[in-house]
């Protein structure tokens, strides 16, 4: 079996975000970059499948130089091969352009039996790229997967929906977008880190995939980020001390809910 995992290298969710650039980007100074946590589930699942039944795990990322650090970490966890498609500046935040690049990279690096990715890249949170890649590759996809079983030529995937669980079967090759709960990602071992150093990362450009990045981000762009804003600062909460006069506090709470918050 050949597995492909698509990973995004994103700002750590614990980073302090400032708006930078022309007001439509974050300020990248001082940001710590991490593999998008949902992609970690995808990677872990691929490595477990490989460990259980053999095969090879290829990780692919599309982004600037720093993406190689993320790929190195994937190798340290047990991936066998890493492809870095350099770029991403012109297509920033345009899910369809990113999907086109990744789909072309998957095609060039493949064929694969199973393609995995996270349900979304933390940061832009669009949940679009996985499904788009699947469509571009003309393979089925299941998104938001929390349980996965891979058989001969097909898979069974489970996803949580409101009030229940959906179970899908799909033929291989297939794309699976992982959700939290699929597994508990491992920490890289020192041996893994040592071994990762010896694996060369393949570096491609969109042009190597027959794509013109300037056009993807220009005439062919499907979306652009116009403006980013930080959420408005939260007003301080109100604490009602009900220890001495519970009934009075309850009355005040009801009043506030009715007249201030207008919730009832």
């Amino acid at each position: 079996m050949k597995y492909c995992v698509l990973v995004a290298y994103v700002p750590d969710t614990a980073s302090i975000i400032k708006i930078g650039g022309a007001g439509n980007r974050i300020d990248e100074g001082g940001i710590k970059w991490i593999i998008s946590p949902y992609d970690e589930f995808a990677l872990e699942e691929a490595i477990r499948l490989k460990e259980a039944r053999g095969g090879e795990v290829t990780v692919i990322t599309y982004g600037p130089d720093r993406g190689s650090t993320g790929l190195r970490e994937c190798l340290a966890r047990g991936a066998d091969r890493a492809v870095h498609v350099m770029g991403g500046e012109a297509t920033f935040g345009d899910a369809f352009a990113i999907a086109r690049v990744l789909a072309a990279a998957v095609q060039k690096a493949g064929p694969f039996d199973l393609i995995l990715c996270g349900i979304k890249g933390v940061g832009s949170d669009q949940s679009l790229v996985g499904a788009m890649v699947a469509e571009l590759l003309d393979v089925p996809h299941v998104s938001g997967v929390v349980k996965l079983e891979v058989g001969e030529g097909s898979l069974t995937a489970q996803r949580d929906v409101e009030g229940g669980t959906e179970v899908f079967t799909a033929p291989l090759p297939c794309l699976v977008a992982a959700h939290k709960g699929l597994n508990e990602p491992r920490y890289p071992s020192l041996k893994g880190i040592m071994a990762a150093k010896k694996i060369p990362i393949e570096t491609w450009k969109p042009a190597d995939l027959g794509l013109d990045e300037a056009a993807l981000g220009g005439a062919e762009a499907t979306s652009r980020w116009l403006k980013l804003e930080l959420p408005a600062a939260k007003a301080g909460g109100t604490i009602l001390n009900g220890e001495e006069d519970p009934a009075g506090a309850a009355r005040e709470l009801a009043r506030l809910l009715r007249h201030e918050a207008k919730a009832i």
Partner: protein, 613 residues
């Protein structure tokens, strides 16, 4: 509050101050490079924050439990131990030939700052396992190496260090544990050891004790001690476990801190069935044991530094969010809003002094670890020179970092005010967990005696002259520096005090008593001077980097307003700026104390001896 660490300073000290890049280029470390080492550090920190740190509170509140002769650790410790074992972290600096990961010591020190800072109780097991494994590797037979080392470095089995007995604490030579040679070449071990860290636990299937014991006709005192490897369970030739080796845990201590680390009383051979294997020759046990004790002393110093660093990060985070009082510019304005306590000058001073010591301790430990690496990479005289630096610095690492590390945890608790005294916040646990570092592994009083009696005179005093000579060089670099001239001259004045004492003390008729009475302050003085020297050296590097940032941003370095704006906006610029400020602060607040101590020592004040106590 989750464990936080100053990764930026760790990376600065490793890659911008110390020549770690050159170290990693050496053939011995060919498995590693700067990129992979940075990943190692990131992963170590992640494990510390996500696994070791969260287990630390349970370790404290639930603690180790003794029941029917067995010790049990809380469930979170089992999970955390499993993760550091699987990752290969236990033997991270040990010999790859025997399953270690072969990282340089200086990287191990950085990794262990995170591990110790986030969970010292659990990390002590790993510390002792590394050390006991190393004794077997260095002095065991081939068969012992094959059976024990890899299983220990991988964390499958753990190790301990057994010296103390009820009547033999600092006076190790009073040990009574007996070792009687058997016809098969093995020894029957019989006796009681106390205060044995991780002497029993349920994390590993076997425990390998390094035990000092006395053969029947041995000389009295430390000279007559021999060193034995004593497994908890006997080991079959194929490495599988055999029968119980009659090592019983009779009790664990109830103590101030490190509740997750079982401090055990062990009874060896109460049924005449405890078998030990001699390491090296009979009656050279104490000498051999130092191969475990010296690295452990450096690591205990790191315990002080790491807990201080963790306490500082917690206090800093708290001070940024806790609102109390008005801003100092609006003290008379009753309507002024409350501000975060980090705005208050006194809180800033406590935090900054704490951080200055943390950076200085980190520097001392990293510099010493770097010398350990260099002593192994070089040969002949050069190797001896580096080893002599390690020998002199070891008691300073142990005593200076554990004493000041503890004090930093106290200042950081103070930052929290009343909440610091409660168990709601981690400050009090850091303080309790740090205290033991000045006591075990040779009390700081013993360290100071070792320093003045053995280490200062070592090789005719050349190593200490070399080390202080480096501080002298730092002074020379900065003697005319407009910004750092005063700290530099304070360093020179402190060095002069040490030099005068070293020349004058020996000539006094009461020299012996003056030195015995003042060994701790003497060690402290040298620690203070080295700390100031390291921070000033780092300030020189930081200032160059800061100037480069100003230049890259097109800011004129003489335009103070513009520079300030850059420092406030750019995290890197702020880091370098703070490095310079830390060096200035440390020099002003610490170095005058060196002179003050020298005055007292030179005066020959003897009141503690004159007094009737």
């Amino acid at each position: 509050m989750a464990y936080q660490a100053d990764m930026r300073d760790v990376l600065f000290q490793l890659f911008e101050w110390l020549p770690t890049r050159e170290l990693l280029a050496h053939e011995r470390f060919s498995e590693w490079d700067p990129d992979s080492v940075q990943m190692v550090l990131q992963e170590a920190l992640k494990l510390s924050q996500e696994v070791l740190g969260p287990a630390n509170v349970e370790g404290d509140r639930v603690g180790a439990r003794w029941e029917n002769g067995k010790v049990y650790l809380p469930p979170s410790f089992h999970d955390a131990y499993q993760k550091i074992k699987e990752g290969g972290w236990i033997g991270c600096i040990n010999n790859p030939e025997y399953g270690g990961m072969g990282l340089p010591e200086v990287i191990g020190t950085a990794v262990n700052e995170f591990f110790f800072g986030s969970n010292i109780s659990l990390s002590l097991t790993a510390l002792l396992t590394r050390g006991a494994g190393y004794l077997v590797e260095k002095f065991g037979t081939d068969e012992m190496r094959q059976l024990f080392c890899e299983r220990m470095y991988s964390g499958q089995w753990a190790g301990t260090m057994c010296l103390t007995e009820p009547q033999a604490g600092s006076d190790v030579g009073a040990s009574k544990t007996r070792a009687i040679k058997q016809p098969n070449g093995r020894y029957l071990i019989q006796g009681e050891k106390i205060f044995i860290t991780s002497g029993d636990q349920d994390l590993t299937e076997n425990i390998i004790h390094a035990v000092l014991a006395r053969t029947p006709d041995a000389e009295p005192g430390t000279k007559g001690l021999s060193l034995f490897v004593v497994p908890k369970y006997r080991v079959n030739p194929d490495g599988s476990l055999g029968e119980f080796n009659d090592v019983a845990c009779s009790n664990i201590e109830h103590k101030l801190g490190i509740h997750g680390s079982p401090t055990c009383s062990l009874v060896f051979g109460q049924n005449d069935a405890c078998e030990g294997f001699l390491l090296g020759q009979e009656q050279e046990g104490m000498k051999l044991m130092f191969y475990m004790m010296n690295p452990a002393r450096i690591e205990v110093g790191l315990q002080g530094a790491a807990l201080a660093a963790a306490a500082y990060q917690a206090a800093l985070a708290y001070a940024k969010t806790r609102l109390q009082g008005r801003h100092y510019s609006k003290l008379k304005d009753a309507d002024a809003p409350q501000v975060a306590i980090i705005e208050h000058p006194d809180v800033r001073r406590m935090l900054f002094t704490s951080n200055a010591y943390v950076h200085a301790m980190r520097a001392l430990l990293m510099q010493t670890s770097y010398y350990v690496d260099m002593s192994r990479l070089s040969e002949g005289e050069e190797a001896e020179r580096y080893q002599s630096y390690v020998d002199v610095l070891t008691p300073i690492c142990k005593a200076w970092a554990s004493d000041w590390g503890f004090r930093v945890t106290e200042w950081c608790l103070q930052v929290f005010g009343g909440y610091g005294y409660t168990m709601e916040y981690p400050a009090e646990q850091y303080l309790r967990d740090a205290k033991i570092a000045s006591i075990y592994e040779g009390t700081n009083g013993i360290q100071a005696l070792d320093f003045v009696a053995r280490k200062l005179p070592l090789k005719g005093g050349k190593p200490i002259r070399d080390l202080l000579g480096k501080a002298e060089e730092t002074f020379k670099k900065l003697r005319n520096d407009p910004q750092l001239m005063e700290p530099a001259w304070m360093l020179a004045a402190a060095l002069k005090q040490i030099e005068d004492l070293s020349k004058g003390l020996g000539k006094r008729p009461d020299a012996m008593m003056v030195v015995l009475l003042n060994s701790v302050p003497l060690l402290d003085m040298v620690g203070d001077v080295l700390g100031a020297h390291f921070l000033l050296e780092q300030a020189i590097v930081a200032r160059e980097k800061l100037a480069a940032i100003f230049a890259a941003k097109g800011v004129d370095a003489s335009d103070k307003k513009a520079c300030r704006a850059v420092i406030e906006d750019d995290g890197e610029a702020a880091f370098y700026h703070n490095k310079v400020q830390l060096a200035i602060h440390f020099a002003y607040r610490v170095l005058p104390g060196v002179t003050a101590k020298a005055v007292a020592i030179r005066a020959g004040e003897m009141a503690p001896m004159e007094a009737v106590l």
